[in-house]
């Protein structure tokens, strides 16, 4: 019996961790529905999540038995399909629930799903495929152009939805996969530099200092870089600094407010700062031991926004306290660590790259989602893997887990 379960799991440490997190998630979604003035949608969410969980387990069972050859063979076509779906989302996509303005859903016969979730996995597979196909590790910036382009296409489409949170997940995937493929850290830094420059450009002095540092960095490594590379890095940084202002202007008001509020939640305590302040009040008032399962007052009295999806961790913080949050962080840490471990022992480069891609996506989701509840990260609509309510997301998380187990188990 035990052996049977272990065989089904493929990798018991990883899968049992995921199972526990999923069950905890359903429990917390149940608690999120226990409020003073219940809404039928939220109070029955845990039941729907339970059904999705069953579906996800079935999918896990199926996918973890798929022949490996199929996976490698299907990686590029599935990427193409995912990109087409993402593009289609921009045209026929709809918003859901509180995120009405975001076109991230496709409805097929009354049944909705988010192509971006599929695209993440497809992108990981495709990225791993083309990097594994190379005979050498990336040695210069030109070598990473193709992978970057591969990720930027779905990323760009997701940004257009606009779904900044999921876009961040693509960035996470790109960097972790490139890193695992052996790209020198210097290149990764240079690759990230325009993004950093974009953020720092809000302060002229800071940005100027940063540009000087970049020039210095390029100069220090002048023997490892082609002149073209150095120049393009500098130009890209300059460009980022220049487009910062128009880009800022092009953001929707709510997006701008979220960024401003991240810097100072007090600027708009009743509006955009509301979510962050209420989330911090909930988590902080939970204290060390929490207010008890289903007993959180902030949650009960509807002060918490999106308590069953994006802000589910605030419910955990309020009801289970620091003990609960640290245990959950530990749980996520173990799962992520297990992914690295599997990647390290992966039978071939493709498997390792896919595992790291999954790791990258999850790390971003976990860090950004939990970080935003305490104001460590700006608020972006990004769910917490396994715990947040959401059918497609839970399903795809388990499909990713199945892939991880399947690839790691191959000999």
């Amino acid at each position: 019996m035990t052996r049977l379960v272990a065989r089904w799991m493929g990798d018991p440490p990883l899968v049992s961790g995921l199972l526990l997190l999923s069950l905890l998630g359903i429990a917390v979604i149940y608690s999120a529905g226990v409020v003073n003035v219940p809404s039928p949608v939220v109070s029955s969410a845990w039941q729907r999540q339970l059904i999705w969980f069953a579906i996800a387990l079935a999918a896990f069972t199926a996918v973890s038995r798929v022949p490996l050859r199929w996976l490698e063979w299907a990686s590029l076509p599935s990427y193409v399909v995912a990109v087409i779906l993402l593009a289609a989302t921009l045209v026929v996509g709809t918003g859901r629930g509180t995120a009405q303005g975001v076109k991230s859903w496709i409805s097929v016969g009354g049944f909705g799903f988010q192509p971006a979730e599929v695209a993440k996995l497809a992108t990981i597979l495709a990225l791993a495929r083309i990097l594994a196909a190379r005979s050498e590790e990336p040695r210069n910036l030109r070598d990473v152009l193709a992978p970057v382009a591969l990720v930027c296409l779905p990323l760009g489409l997701v940004v257009l939805q606009p779904d900044l949170g999921t876009a961040l997940a693509f960035v996470g995937i790109l960097f972790t996969v490139l890193y695992w493929a052996g790209t020198p850290v210097l290149f990764l830094v240079l690759l990230a530099s325009p993004g950093l420059g974009l953020i720092l450009s809000f302060n002229t002095w800071l940005w100027s200092a940063y540009m000087l540092a970049m020039v210095g960095l390029v100069y220090l490594h002048r023997y490892r870089l082609y002149l073209v590379e150095s120049l393009s890095v500098i130009i890209a940084n300059l460009a980022a600094g220049t487009v910062a202002l128009p880009l800022w202007r092009s953001l929707a008001t709510y997006q701008r407010n979220r960024l401003l509020v991240f810097l100072d939640p007090g600027v708009d305590p009743r509006g955009a700062g509301w979510h962050l302040i209420q989330s911090k009040v909930a988590i902080g008032s939970g204290g060390i031991t929490g207010k008890g399962f289903t007993l959180g007052t902030q949650k009960r009295l509807a002060f918490l926004p999106e308590q069953h999806t994006d802000f589910i961790f605030s419910v955990i913080g309020e009801e289970l306290g620091f003990l609960g949050t640290s245990l959950l962080l530990l749980g996520f840490g173990l799962v992520l660590f297990r992914l690295i471990r599997l990647a390290e022992r992966a039978p071939d480069p493709f498997a390792g790259l896919v595992l790291l891609g999954i790791f990258g996506a999850w790390v971003v989701h976990i860090f950004v989602n939990i970080g935003m509840t305490v104001g460590l990260v700006p608020i972006t609509g990004i769910p917490l893997p396994l715990v947040s309510y959401g059918g497609t997301f839970l399903l795809m998380t388990w499909v990713a887990a199945a892939l991880a187990v399947r690839l790691a188990g191959e000999d």
Binding site: E137, W180, I283, G284, G287, I288, Q298, F303, G333, F337
Partner: protein, 609 residues
């Protein structure tokens, strides 16, 4: 890609682990900081988030009559309020409430106005909701999140219209009143006295509102009382004890003819306390509790009988014959007449003065009369001559000293002063001519430019019933009583005046038919000439046990009553009789006056006395 060397992979794995550990470590530190180090601050904020103090209305002070009977008290009522929220959602909630409470569009705008004035206070929408409304609202609690139901004491006057004008009424404080200095510290929705005693003693009756801590959710819905933190209980308003006699007021309300307009003032001879203050038609102050219905309000204000008008203190009428006692008192005080003295011209139905013939009301004439008999017969010719002896300027001077041109100073928010010429300049100002001595003839019999409130006349008769001096009539039992003025008469002269009044109720007197079995009734009928219609009927009465000091003064005015002896006198006599019967434990009988005995065919052996 070739398989990597295990050490290379290990290094990369260590790098990835390090990044992950740093990120999760950051989160852990952030949670430690917020949940362990600064938890207390957030806990406080969580409470201030959801706990909100709400005012607890204080019950108004109970109003007692002189016997300790309750005139006004409080019963539980329900109020409907909206909790503070953005204006849009307040407007939406009001529109949702509209069909249930039946409020008008204008009222909604009015409420929004009030709300904008004090956006942080709960907005009182309905201060006296019916039980049906309360249950309807409770059922729809989900759809009406910001609605807050609260029990609040509401005013009750068990005697209803019998105490209407004396009590006044209460109502919600208006936006204008909130701005006034006398309502500093009041909040929107406060119930304040608007008229009568309720207004006069508002500061005593109001009490101090308490606070109550309730738990609200993010949308402002009150979830329930919060037990962890106690609020401050409300301090009820102070009870006040009045000189009014509730039973007497109810009696007057019962006997005063519904079809008639008028006023009854009863004063306690002992201390000048007001025993009864009744204006007809009256109104039921209970109608105003919780906001008066607009249609009832428009009925009250458009009724030509003016039920809201307090005739006892605001109504001014020509004082007519009852004022002849003032002429007599002034004459005696100035020494221009002695009680037994006869006037030079006997009454033959009138007297010639200058080029005009002044009539007596009795065309047959009264002959030659002493002062007491002149009072008994209300002989105009006698008082014309007495007036001439006093002289116009002295009559005005003494009349003003007694206070016929001023207010009595009763403890009510509104009182009319009497109209009485201050000096001869009055005629010049008003009509542009110098008055001749002929003016004194009209004034001496209570006509001419002389208008008095029933209250003022009662105070004058109070002085006659006492030792010649009268304090200001007052309603508060333990209030300071000032000796307002004195007639400066010796006891003998006062007795002469009283003897005259006594003869009015004796056989041959104008009010004989109103004489009473058990009590020594003194009085003066009057018929005030009314240029606007039928004459007003007066009766001023003093009553007490036989051969003892008088105990009650009653003044009755019946608008368009025509005959003082037939309309006003019975009301006054029955009022005095009821009061004295209660005081001396004689069973109440509705057959009280001599006329009533005759009408029901009951023998009245005492009448021959």
């Amino acid at each position: 890609m070739k398989r990597q060397h295990p050490t290379v992979l290990r290094r990369r794995a260590q790098g990835a682990t390090a990044v992950m550990a740093i990120l999760l470590g950051l989160l852990l530190v952030a949670f430690f900081r917020i949940q362990v180090l600064r938890s207390e601050t957030w806990r406080l904020q969580s409470e201030s988030n959801r706990l909100r103090p709400l005012p607890v209305p204080a019950p108004r002070g109970t109003i007692f009559d002189r016997e300790g009977k309750i005139i006004a008290d409080n019963v539980p009522g329900y109020s409907v309020s909206l909790l503070p929220a953005p204006t849009d959602s307040i407007r939406r909630s009001l529109q949702d409430l509209q069909p249930i409470l039946g409020i008008t569009e204008e009222r909604i705008e009015e409420l929004l106005q009030v709300y904008r004035l004090r956006p942080t206070d709960p907005l009182l929408v309905e201060s006296d909701a019916s039980f049906e409304t309360v249950s309807a609202l409770s059922e729809r609690r989900m759809q009406l999140p910001e609605v807050f139901l609260e029990m609040r004491p509401k005013r009750r006057y068990q005697a209803g219209a019998a105490v209407g004008h004396a009590m006044g009424y209460v109502g919600e404080i208006t936006a204008e009143e909130l701005e006034q200095p006398r309502f500093v510290g009041y909040e929107q929705g406060a119930i304040v006295g608007k008229e009568g005693i309720e207004r006069q003693y508002e500061t005593l009756l109001q009490g101090t509102q308490g606070t109550r801590i309730v738990e609200v959710d993010a949308l402002g819905r009150v979830v329930g009382s919060f037990r962890g933190q106690t609020g401050k209980p409300a301090t009820p308003g102070s009870p006040i004890h009045l000189t009014l006699d509730l039973a007497l007021m109810e009696w007057i309300h019962r006997i005063f003819p519904d079809s008639m307009r008028g006023a009854v003032v009863a004063l306690d001879v002992q201390d000048g306390g007001v025993l009864a203050l009744y204006s007809s038609p009256s109104y039921d102050p209970n109608l105003f509790v919780g906001g008066i219905a607009p249609e009832i309000w428009s009925d009250l204000t458009s009724d030509e009988a003016r039920p809201l008008y307090n005739r006892t203190t605001l109504g001014r009428y020509p004082p007519a014959s009852p004022w002849k006692l003032a002429t007599a008192a002034i004459g005696l005080q100035l020494g221009v007449v002695t009680p037994e003295e006869r006037m030079p011209v006997p009454c033959r139905g009138g007297i010639q003065f200058g080029n005009r013939f002044f009539r007596c009301w009795q065309p047959r004439g009264h002959g030659s009369l002493s002062l007491a008999d002149a009072i008994r017969h209300s002989c105009d010719v006698y008082f014309y001559q007495l007036g001439l002896r006093i002289g116009l300027s002295r009559l005005l001077e003494e009349g003003n000293r007694i206070g016929f041109g001023r207010q009595c100073g009763i403890d009510l928010p509104q009182e009319s002063g009497g109209i009485f010429p201050e000096d001869t300049g009055f005629w010049e100002e008003r009509w542009g001519y110098r008055p001749t001595e002929a003016e004194v003839l009209s004034l001496a019999i209570g006509q001419g430019p002389n208008s008095q409130t029933p209250l003022r006349m009662a105070q004058f008769y109070l002085a006659l019933a006492r030792n010649g001096s009268a304090p200001a009539p007052h309603l508060l039992r333990d209030g300071a009583v000032a000796e307002a003025w004195s007639l400066n008469l010796d006891p003998g002269s006062l007795e002469v005046l009283r003897e005259g009044l006594r003869r009015v109720v004796r056989p041959g007197g104008t009010a004989y038919m109103s004489s009473l079995e058990h009590w020594d009734l003194l009085g003066k009928t009057g018929t005030g000439e009314n240029p606007h219609g039928r004459d007003h009927a007066w009766f001023a009465a003093i009553a007490g046990p036989w051969n003892e000091d008088p105990e009650i003064v009653v003044v009755v005015l019946v608008e368009f009553g025509e005959s003082g002896s037939r309309t006003a006198a019975p009301i006054a006599a029955k009022t005095a009789d009821y009061f004295l019967r209660l005081r001396y434990g004689i069973p109440i009988d509705t057959v009280q006056t001599l006329r009533e005995h005759y009408m029901v065919g009951r023998p009245a052996p005492w009448a021959a006395r």
